[in-house]
Symmetry: C2
Subunit: 333 residues, 2 copies
């Protein structure tokens, strides 16, 4: 058996993470204990939340400690098992860390049924991004038929699913994305009702044009100026599901600010932060729905698969914060 390749956190970045913040090293492959299995990852997931996981201070999970394996989801196959529910060769996905081999007790793992979707979808549309879109839109956003839904980072892993699920639920879906290609994609391929290119268009003007009945649900992945623009067009009793704030994660200057607090009051908005782990007990329900919609062709998953192995991890991660990815970003090992 070969060595394990492991990405460990070396230091906390002040702004964007870089190669210097990680030790990427070869280590012995660990041995699974009783009730555990060893998996080998084929795909590692890159998620916007990773920047938060390596920041210091209070957050929804403890920060990754210096010297620890970088937290991350991956998908692969069981290569050795002392676990009653897993056999060698089983496809699995879960929170295995950013490394080639991982030992798991099955706690943060799911069996990846590749007859429903390819292996890498289990860290995408059927993984954390899918669950995030599902609970964020349906529970936090409380979307109803006839609502107008706006989502930022709309061609990304979560945003692309939010718009499609909105359509499935009978709502209108407007996406905000960067660049004409991403905007055409969400309308032409994914069936969004409209798209706004924040790099080329006046977001507020376009929202006014595309949302004549104002906005009932805003699914927030970005923060900053886009959030301020959207708040100005919310409907009475609108819901804002705060899923992510990419614009804030790498800020060294004072972070982007919410200037439109008045809209929260005047429109009686409900602005609610959430993380997918809060709904973990309902994951099975969500995965059943997501897989069904996918198999019916109503929910498309777009992967942005990058090569380069684990050594490319820091550079590929940063694509998420510069708009450099197009679809769910994964690293192929």
């Amino acid at each position: 058996m070969t060595e394990n390749r492991v990405v460990r956190l070396k230091s906390r970045p002040a702004t964007m993470a870089s190669r210097e913040n990680f030790d990427i090293v070869d280590e012995p492959v660990p041995e699974p204990g009783e009730g555990e299995f060893l998996m080998r990852a084929d795909y590692v997931s890159l998620d916007p939340a990773m920047r938060g996981w390596i920041a210091p201070g209070r957050s929804y999970v403890p920060p990754v400690e210096i010297g620890a394996v970088m937290r991350g989801f991956s998908a692969g196959h069981v290569v050795k098992s002392n676990h009653p529910d897993y056999r060698e060769g089983d496809a699995v996905a879960g929170l295995f860390g950013v490394q080639r081999y991982a030992v798991s007790d099955g706690e943060r793992a799911v069996r990846a049924d590749t007859s429903l979707a390819p292996l890498e979808a289990w860290i995408g549309g059927l993984g954390m991004p899918g669950l995030t879109a599902y609970f964020g839109l349906l529970e936090v956003g409380a979307v109803k038929e006839g609502d107008t839904v706006v989502v930022s980072a709309a061609s990304g892993a979560v945003g692309s699913l939010v718009g499609q699920i909105a359509k499935i639920k009978g709502a209108r879906a407007i996406g905000i994305a960067g660049g004409g290609e991403k905007c055409r994609y969400i309308v032409d391929e994914l069936g969004f009702d409209g798209a706004i290119d924040y790099k080329a268009q006046d977001v507020s003007e376009e929202l006014k044009r595309l949302c004549p009945d104002r906005i009932d649900v805003y699914f927030e992945n970005v923060g900053g100026d886009i959030m301020n623009a959207v708040l100005g067009h919310m409907n009475t009793f609108g819901r804002v599901a705060v899923c992510g704030l990419i614009a804030h994660y790498n800020a060294t200057e004072p972070p982007p600010r919410l200037t439109n607090l008045r809209s929260i009051l005047v429109n009686r908005l409900n602005v609610r932060g959430f993380i997918v782990f809060d709904f973990a007990e309902r994951n099975a329900e969500a995965l059943t729905a997501l897989a069904a919609w996918h198999s019916e062709g109503r929910l498309k998953f777009r992967q942005d698969v990058r090569e380069g192995g684990l050594d490319a991890f820091p550079d590929v991660l940063n694509l998420l914060y510069t708009g450099g990815n197009f679809g769910k970003l994964v690293l192929k090992l």
Copy 2:
């Protein structure tokens, strides 16, 4: 019968409202039609929301039109009635406008039972401020026994009730107010567990000290820097009831900004704007509870009664935005 004295909106203020923005004139006393009554006001209510009512643009109610009677609550007595439910001499309170005499069809009026509380309390603790505190804390804030509640403008009409209702519900109450006298009042007289003088103390440091288990419910009357400080100390799944944003109402410079969006995400906060009219169908329930607590001595109302008649209205109104009042501000006619 004498003339009616009426405050009409003359122009919209750019910052603070002033005497020039109003026409204060004598007019004939109106005649009640069929199904209407005529009331004469003894007390006119001054509420922070008034600044929003005379601002242009979209809000939760249409702005007061130029030339129209200024919107406002008052309390007084029926002097003539063609209404089946009201007789001459009945004490009433309601949205009668800022004027000495008003005709009403009873729609936005309540009978003021002065055996429960003095007349002026029906535009205070048993009026809009009482209802606002009740629904904002119990429904929007969803306060539970053992919670820590923080309220800004804590010695004001709404804030003083929020803290007392929090105590009645078994929560801890911390108030933020301006000046030592107001701080001592809410602790010594109203039974708050702690007070922070934002004019003399570091709000964030004091919150840390006074809220060792962090903050479960924040009742927001102010906005601006105080809101940013409080957000930094919220507990997981905390609730922020956005009732008012006094710091924003008269701003000519860019309004105070919410810089701590990250707290909404990380702590999965629920930030919700509300206005008291949203809960109008439950007013009877709330008034019953408020009156009972008041009669048991558990809910104290403090009035700040000003003289000077309706001509003093613009100047007295501005006390609300400069921290110049201490308790529920009313104008005695």
